[in-house]
């Protein structure tokens, strides 16, 4: 690691010394590099995480909480986890070879009992071999990309999405620590106004998590996916496209051909029409059909329709979206691998910052329709002031009885207005959103209700930047009968906040606090049962590098991004992180 730190610092040095006009007191023209350096080259990034997990003191307490016990893989003792990710890319402007090397090590993960060495947590599942039970080094992604003229060809790990992601959406979702690629072959070619995309490969989810605890790492499941898309752009004001994807789920991990002896598991096919600027409107309409053959999927067909209309009228910017999804999540459930990815993820139209255990069911519903309208108003002035108003209305007809994630047994109507305000462009900025969501049940089952507010505010004080971020929500349950543990359905309040003070550039101090009275949250506070606190020191040695030292705890919780939701564990302990590009 020291090598990389030193190398990154060395890489930054010439730039800051020679090309930083502020340091030189003048602006110096850029010095042209020698010709040999212009044709080929490389760059990369380095990410390091060192996490010390502070386990609760009492074994008895842990055993008494089966949810927490399962979440943390029955760990009792403190341990240290080191994760290192190196990305390198090299080549010319037309050809790039990229690789990602991941490494994880667990330290203090063993003890002796009756003379026998016991590994407290299993970092690896038995089918995943490594030189040590407490370490894994993985060449996670490799790709060779060539861009000859109007074409782009990728051999190795690539990403592909069709339409608005309804038919296929295998892309990076690092916001929730998911990075699944297709390991295979992918090509795109533009011929005039025509564009053709073809891709085929095996799913390659990242094995080593960057931001979450690593344990029970499994071999890749390698589902086979192929995709085709043909698009015709600029046909008058219209863009037309047709696309399809084939899925063959592997029933075992690994890459043996015998895993793919079963018939095709599923297929999706559809098309989209896009009209640009017709009467001052942009219109997008997509329809997709889903066809299932996998015996584990209880239905044979599904469909999805999505549409958006966008227009701009003076200071108004208006977006109206509508969706109808019926049995579109079946392939995701059938291939479910610990939430590591989803094949299909269409627009949810949800405000994903405040998804709860309850509303996650609507995100993943197999029988939902509705829409959302959002209006932004750009006010005149030197700074950029944009208030906004959004209203989402959905009808979710999936219930617990039909196999969905819902806690309720009746369909529900969802109303969700959100008001926003942004003030940016000056030394002080505010970004705020507030909303009230109701999941109104049919008959007399009442409604689940959520009030939420998030605010990001920053202003200079005495020459130092001070930033405040607050997220708060209060949730009240309706009547839920679907076998849900009644004690878990207590109304709750979630609060989280942070204060960042740029005390002495390039140093910043951050104070975090979390509070949650949600009994479904599987973590425990470090300050009190429901109360978490942490402090972090950030140091930015160069513009693309940051070192952070964190001590304290934050809570577990559900987090959604990119149409996918994950139950992320909490954290209690200390960690040092380093991120940089070079």
């Amino acid at each position: 690691m020291g090598w990389w730190l030193a190398a990154a610092a060395w890489a930054a040095e010439p730039e800051s010394a020679a090309a930083d006009p502020a340091a030189a007191g003048d602006v110096a023209p850029e010095t042209a590099p020698p010709a040999w350096r212009r044709s080929v080259g490389g760059h990369g990034s380095e990410v390091l995480r060192i996490r010390w997990y502070d386990s609760p003191d009492s074994l008895q307490d842990r055993v008494a909480d089966p949810i927490l016990e399962a979440e943390l893989a029955e760990s009792v003792l403190d341990y240290v986890e080191v994760v290192n990710r190196i990305n390198l890319a090299g080549g010319s402007q037309a050809v790039t070879l990229s690789l990602q090397l991941d490494a994880v090590t667990l330290l203090s993960n063993a003890y002796k009992l009756d003379g026998a060495l016991v590994q407290e947590r299993d970092l690896l599942q038995p089918e995943l071999s490594s030189f040590s039970p407490n370490a894994l080094i993985s060449l996670e992604k490799v790709s060779l990309e060539a861009r000859p003229g109007p074409a782009r060809v990728v051999v190795g790990d690539g990403y592909v999405a069709l339409g608005r992601g309804l038919a296929l959406n295998v892309v990076k979702n690092t916001d929730i620590d998911i990075d699944t690629s297709l390991l295979g072959l992918q090509g795109t070619v533009q011929l005039g106004d025509w564009e053709l995309l073809a891709a085929g490969g095996l799913t390659n989810p990242q094995q080593v998590a960057l931001e979450n605890p690593n344990f029970s790492l499994a071999a890749n499941d390698g589902h086979a996916v192929s995709a085709l898309r043909v698009a015709r752009y600029a046909l008058g004001p219209a863009n037309l496209s047709a696309h399809g994807a084939l899925f063959q789920l592997a029933d075992q991990t690994g890459l043996s051909p015998s895993h793919y002896s079963a018939p095709l598991s599923a297929a999706s096919a559809g098309g989209a029409v896009e009209l640009m600027g017709v009467g001052g409107f942009d219109v997008y309409l997509e329809g997709d059909g889903f066809f299932y053959q996998d015996p584990d999927i209880p239905v044979k067909q599904g469909y999805a329709v999505y549409s958006s209309i966008t227009t701009w009228r003076g200071p108004l910017s208006i977006l109206v979206e509508g969706k109808r999804y019926k049995d579109t999540e079946r392939i995701n459930v059938a291939s479910f691998t610990g939430g590591r990815y989803e094949f299909t993820a269409g627009p949810t139209l949800e405000y994903e910052r405040v998804i709860t255990e309850d509303s996650a069911a609507a995100v993943n519903s197999n029988n939902i329709y509705g829409g959302r309208a959002k209006v932004d108003v750009t006010l005149p002035g030197a700074t950029l002031t944009v208030p906004s108003l959004a209203l989402g209305v959905f009808r979710d007809e999936e219930t617990a009885a039909s196999g969905g994630l819902h806690f309720n047994q009746t369909p529900e109507t969802i109303l969700h207005p959100v008001a926003g305000f942004q003030w940016t462009g000056g030394p002080t900025h505010i970004l705020a959103n507030a909303g009230y969501r109701q999941d109104i049940r049919d008959s007399d089952y009442g409604s689940d209700r959520l009030e939420h507010l998030d605010v990001a505010f920053a202003t200079p004080i005495l020459g130092h930047e001070l930033e405040l971020a607050i997220n708060s929500s209060a949730f009240q349950w309706g009547k839920n009968l679907a076998g849900q543990v009644a004690s878990a359905q207590h109304d709750f309040v979630d609060l989280s906040g942070s204060i960042t003070a740029s005390i002495l550039e390039p140093l910043a101090l951050v104070l975090y606090s979390d509070y949650s009275s949600n009994p479904l949250v599987t973590s425990e506070g470090n300050l009190a049962e429901d109360f978490y606190g942490a402090v972090e020191l950030q140091f930015r040695p160069w513009p693309s590098g940051v070192i952070k030292a964190f001590y304290g705890a934050y809570r577990a919780g559900i987090r959604c991004a990119g149409g996918q939701c994950r139950n992320l564990p909490g954290f209690d302990g200390a960690r040092v992180t380093f991120d940089s590009t070079f």
């Binding site: 990410v47 861009r147 999405a161 916001d175 640009m276 993820a345 750009t378 920053a458 740029s502 513009p543």
Partner: protein
Amino acid sequence: MSLLRSFAALLVLVIAPLAWAAVAPDFTLRDINSKSVSLSELRKNNKIVLVNFWATWCNPCQVEMPHLQALHAELGSQGLAVVGIATDDARSSSMVKPLVYSKKLSYPVLLDTQSSVVSLYNPNKVLPFTVLINSAGEMVYSHSGYNAGDEVELRTKVLAALGTP
């Protein structure tokens, strides 16, 4: 001996990217009006290019945008091409154009719905992420995140790359 070889290999791995210039890989994406735009086109006439990766859900990205627009307005005619790359995946790409309009951005904004360009430049998808590419096609400056005042340093770097006092 094998240890020595491993050490030498690691050293080569470290030194190689540093000894070479950070060549900016070419890319082609559709903009918010479905027009195909490539880096090589943006670099025509010896322009330097400021590539800014962002997403509709990213708050710091939205705080940074007015400053990039100001740079574009001030230095666009002096050889600077600012381009935004929205890293929203396909499902939220409908939200990009309304945001561009409400923020009054006049520089081109491209859609990387398949993670193809972000994988090359910013594989960990840290946002916002800004790369300055000089007229020779080399990445001469990169910056992750946004804090107040970063725009001052960015402007200085752009001026240096333009050779403008």
